[in-house]
């Protein structure tokens, strides 16, 4: 591995957000292609972070800083990757459903997904079903991720999926649901494609959904 890639990889592992811009530019100047930087630098760094998290050696804030670091680099690489026709892992539209103002879980999932290389469109909280449908269509999203903390707002997930069907976009997008009161049974019942019980799970599941489609 070249020095530039090794430095990028380590900076991602350590979550040194401020250094990523300069390191990415340096790697490009050294003649590395955007795809090499992504695959052999950033993604490899995040893989180390992911496995250390699973082993209990790294904690959530550290993972999030690593994800943010990767994001800084990706922002530079994205237009270059697009020129060469290289695709990102996928595009996720995410939000907390209508009536629910609790967004810490949704934020965690969004950041984890960015760390896994997804492009994330975050609609925030208290998002109406109509809004989800509109943005899924406009962004041509691969995945729609819905969050709820309250049992009383879970029904908005059901409503959102129904509205996707009515708008004829249900088949074009995979729907994931999550949040403390949500269960795999409930996900099945409302016709979601998948359910994640933790933020880290959600990123893994999103990847599987993309590969399956």
């Amino acid at each position: 591995m070249s020095d530039a890639l090794l430095q990028l990889r380590n900076a991602v592992i350590d979550g040194r957000v401020k250094e990523l811009e300069a390191l990415t530019s340096a790697a490009l100047s050294a003649g590395l292609t955007p795809k090499e930087i992504l695959d052999n630098g950033l993604v490899q760094g995040m893989q180390v972070v992911g496995s250390e998290f699973k082993e209990g050696k790294k904690f959530v804030p550290e993972v999030l800083f690593s994800a943010r670091a990767m994001q800084v680099s990706l922002n530079i690489l994205k237009p270059l990757l697009a020129q060469t026709g290289t695709k990102m892992v996928g595009k996720v539209v995410i939000g907390t459903v209508k009536g629910d103002l609790h967004d810490i879980g949704k934020n965690l999932v969004g950041m984890m997904m960015e760390g896994a290389g997804f492009e994330v469109v975050d609609l925030g909280r208290d998002v109406a079903p109509e809004k989800f449908v509109e943005v899924v269509r406009r962004e041509n999203a691969d995945i729609l991720a819905l969050s709820a903390l309250l049992t009383t707002t879970m029904r908005a997930m059901d409503q959102t999926i129904k509205m996707l069907k009515e708008a004829n976009v249900r088949d074009a997008v995979k729907v994931m649901v999550g949040g403390a009161p949500v269960t795999a049974d409930f996900a099945l019942k409302i016709g979601a494609d998948s359910y994640g019980s933790t933020a880290a799970d959600a990123a893994e599941i999103a990847k599987k959904l993309i590969h399956a489609s």
């Binding site: 879980g105 029904r155 009161p181």
Partner: protein
């Protein structure tokens, strides 16, 4: 004569010094004045603007220190609640402790099948019935969130089930302002009208600001209605250290207090003297699992610190204990429950809730509740302290028995052992052979036996038939109004 003599009637616990408390209170004022808090409700914004708050944009409210101080001044330091049995009364005043359940857990472990499933109205009734039977549980919250009634009226159904199960004071939740109004009407039917309610309210309502520093429209609407209608209001956040609040304990206390005080100010602007109870569920985000931990030692530490602060301000406090991150009722549950119950009791908090929570607040457990009743009882023995006077120093008895004698049959023993010794009900002190001969049951099994026995055999005093019909009518009216909204139940 003996001079300069001090007694310590009960053991004492203090987490923060007065100087530290003052600093935290000042910083909370600084947060409300400088950072501000978001309020998404028009009437409250009008009240706050009229009182001299600066409002940035549409809803970022900056509250001046004097207004906070005036609000602390006008809110009562003592709040009374009385159950359906009007003799079951609790006085929320400095250093008077009461334990109760939490509310609205989606899941329970079925007492017969051990299956983890969603709560039903019957389960809510059973929880209330168990509270009624447990002497150490002083107030009741629903424990579960019923899933077999219309979503838009679940709160009325739960109140009815709770009233059927227990005659003790209640803390309720409400889906919105209308749900709160219906429940007030139900309570008035129980206590005999609005005047009786004002003398001794049947319930306090739990309303939650969203950390950090957000007050939703629904929350503020309920707050305003509570202030207007003399409903004691618990306005308390759940700031999670490192996620929705600062990672440091002191910072979390500053933010949590600011969130309580914002609600206090709005309520006092609506009606001076409105009863507000501050506090909250204060704990950490477990940075491995991203769970809001109900068993972390930081929870009892923060809760006791918050109680110190509330007592300094002269406001009643809503605290947390008897809860756990364990998935099932096991050794972890017992450890975590004991730790938080002991600490909350020592701190002198008023409404100590969430007794019975497992799975970080997702599972409302009858077994945990029944075991915690025993823990509270034991902890209260410790809180009685060591009385030191001539009778208790027992010099006469010591002289009587003398070297080499025994106290088993001394009159002093006979006179005191029943009061001085705590007697467990579920904890077992028998020897191996006796324990074996009684079936060799673990604590878990003994607790569960008691749960099953209470469910099957305990009968709470019924609601008078006429009142019951009135209550059912109010619930049916709400169901009718919300019929159109029904969608798939979880």
């Amino acid at each position: 004569m003996r001079v300069n003599y001090q007694t310590n009637v009960t053991p004492r616990l203090r987490v923060l010094s007065e100087d530290q408390i003052e600093q935290i209170v000042y910083e909370a004022m600084d947060v409300l004045q400088q950072t501000g808090t978001r309020v998404y409700e028009e009437e409250a914004l009008t009240l706050l603007r009229g009182a001299g708050c600066v409002i940035d944009g549409e809803n970022l409210v900056h509250i001046p220190a004097w207004l906070i101080e005036a609000s602390i001044q006008s809110a009562p330091s003592r709040v009374l609640l009385g159950g359906r049995d009007r003799e079951k009364r609790i006085a929320l005043e400095k250093n008077r402790i009461y334990f109760g359940t939490g509310s609205d857990c989606p899941f329970l472990t079925d007492p017969c099948t051990s299956e983890r499933r969603r709560y039903t109205k019957e389960d809510i009734y059973r929880a209330a019935k168990i509270t009624e039977a447990l002497p150490q549980i002083d107030f009741h919250m629903s424990l579960g969130l019923t899933s077999d009634v219309p979503v838009g009226t679940y709160d009325r159904h739960q109140l009815l089930a709770m009233l059927r199960g227990t005659t003790k004071p209640l803390v309720i939740t409400a889906i919105d302002r209308e749900g709160l109004a219906d429940q007030l009407e139900m309570a008035c039917a129980v206590v005999g009208g609005v005047d009786e309610w004002r003398k001794l309210p049947l319930f306090a309502v739990y309303v939650e600001p969203t950390s950090p520093l957000d007050n939703s429209r629904e929350a503020v609407e309920k707050l305003l209605f509570a202030a207007e209608k003399n409903i004691p209001l618990i306005y308390t956040p759940c700031p999670i250290c490192g996620a929705t609040g600062p990672a440091t304990m002191a910072g979390n206390l500053v933010q949590g207090l600011a969130e309580c005080l914002a609600g206090l100010v709005i309520s006092q602007l609506k009606r001076k003297g409105a009863a507000v109870i501050i506090g909250g569920v204060m704990s950490i985000l477990d940075m491995t699992t991203t769970v809001l931990s109900y068993g972390a030692p930081e929870l009892p530490l923060l809760s006791a610190a918050m109680t110190n602060i509330a007592q300094y301000l002269g406001l009643p406090v809503f605290s947390t204990a008897g809860c756990s991150d364990a998935k099932t009722f096991d050794q972890q549950a017992a450890i975590e429950s004991t730790l938080s119950i002991a600490f909350a009791a020592l701190s002198g908090a008023n409404l100590i809730h969430d007794v019975g929570y497992l799975e970080s607040g997702l599972n409302g457990s009858y077994d945990m509740l029944v075991m915690s009743n025993e823990i509270i009882s034991g902890v209260k023995r410790i809180l009685c302290g060591v009385p030191v006077d001539a009778e208790h120093l027992a010099l006469e008895a010591i002289r009587r028995v003398g070297p080499g004698g025994h106290y088993l049959m001394d009159e002093h023993t006979m006179k005191h052992f029943r009061n001085e010794f705590w007697v467990p009900e579920l904890l077992d002190r028998s020897n191996w052979d006796t324990w074996q001969s009684r079936g060799g049951k673990t604590l878990k099994m003994r607790v569960h036996d008691k749960v099953l026995d209470l469910i099957e055999h305990y009968a709470p005093p019924p609601i008078p038939e006429k009142t019951e019909r009135e209550l059912e009518k109010i619930v049916a009216r709400a169901d009718e109004a919300h019929r159109a909204e029904e969608v798939t139940q979880p």
